[in-house]
Symmetry: C2
Subunit: 164 residues, 2 copies
DNA sequence: GGAAATTAATTTCATATGAAATTATATCAA
DNA sequence: TTGATATAATTTCATATGAAATTAATTTCC
């Protein structure tokens, strides 16, 4: 990274009020610290307890409520990329938490479901992550929670339309 | 990951309403998709334009407004870890955007500042990232923006207190 | 029917990341 | 002093990540 810059800059002319720029009040930076804190708190639940990675937990969460899905369907429902899902499936299979069968009609398609052991882990985790969710939102009224989700959704939509 | 689970689970008894768990309404998951969208939109600015990585941009942003700092001070002001900062400094030096001098009093300490070229890149980027920030928050009133930041800060504080 | 295009899933490869170890200097305490 | 401890910064090493290539099965269209 930081290869030779494309735009022409003479290195002398300083314009605008860039000097006053403060990273710590820059909105994307605040979003990042917010995400980091939230993310670290969740990892504490499924990480140490059952040795799951983030991708494994998400894969399990999607399968836990949908019962039977293919890898592609998990990709759609989890906003993870297909490599992450493929590796999560591998890890969960090795741990005996997930079962993989080839679909009768379409031999490319692998049908995935939690094993009884996987299902038990899932049911052990759900109340814990729900409690964590409550702890994260502690002190916020129902209305504030709704406001937060709605504002986040609006900003996310703005961001997605910028990315194309 | 997904090594042998520690807790005892017989794999048969299903309890609670885990079946109804939906990842897509799980708060930490929503925070993550929000972060991913915002993050991708910012990367579009400093990435292609000047070939900067995220860490390089942040390091530059901190130095751009503080003029002269050590690597540790950048770590404090950017919420990055010291390895990321060290590597960002290396990249920025190789690109001629940052200058490193050993402090006279403390020979361990490296004093960093942007070169004229680095300063020019910074001044080129600031109006662009400010415009992006505005695009992200488009459609939100001043009050709504304040509300969003305040709610995010409260949740972040909750999360940090959970992590210890 | 069979070549071309499509779809499912995995593997490869090159890069990113962070905890722990390392190097080097500075300070503290006997 | 000098041995022990602390601090600044970098390097190492093991793991995580994702784009692109690969493998394999299926569908489309002539």
């Amino acid at each position: 990274m930081a290869k030779e810059a494309a735009s022409e800059l003479d290195g002398e002319t300083v314009h605008g009020d860039a000097r006053a720029f403060d990273l710590r009040s820059f909105f994307p930076y605040l979003v990042r610290t917010y995400y980091q804190a939230v993310s670290a708190s969740v990892t504490q639940i499924y990480g140490p307890l059952h040795g799951l990675s983030v991708s494994e937990w998400r894969t399990m969460a999607v399968l836990g409520s949908h019962r039977v899905l293919s890898a592609s369907e998990i990709v759609e429902r989890s906003s993870m990329d297909r490599v992450a899902v493929s590796r999560a499936i591998k890890g969960l299979r090795e741990a005996g938490l997930l079962k993989r069968d080839i679909d009768g009609d379409d031999q490319r398609r692998a049908v995935l479901r939690l094993t009884p052991k996987g299902s038990a882990v899932f049911h052990d985790l759900v109340p814990r992550v729900r409690a964590l969710e409550e702890d994260l939102l502690a002190g916020l009224s129902a209305k504030e929670r709704q406001t937060l989700l709605s504002l986040m959704a609006r900003v996310r939509d703005n961001a997605l339309s910028l990315a194309g």
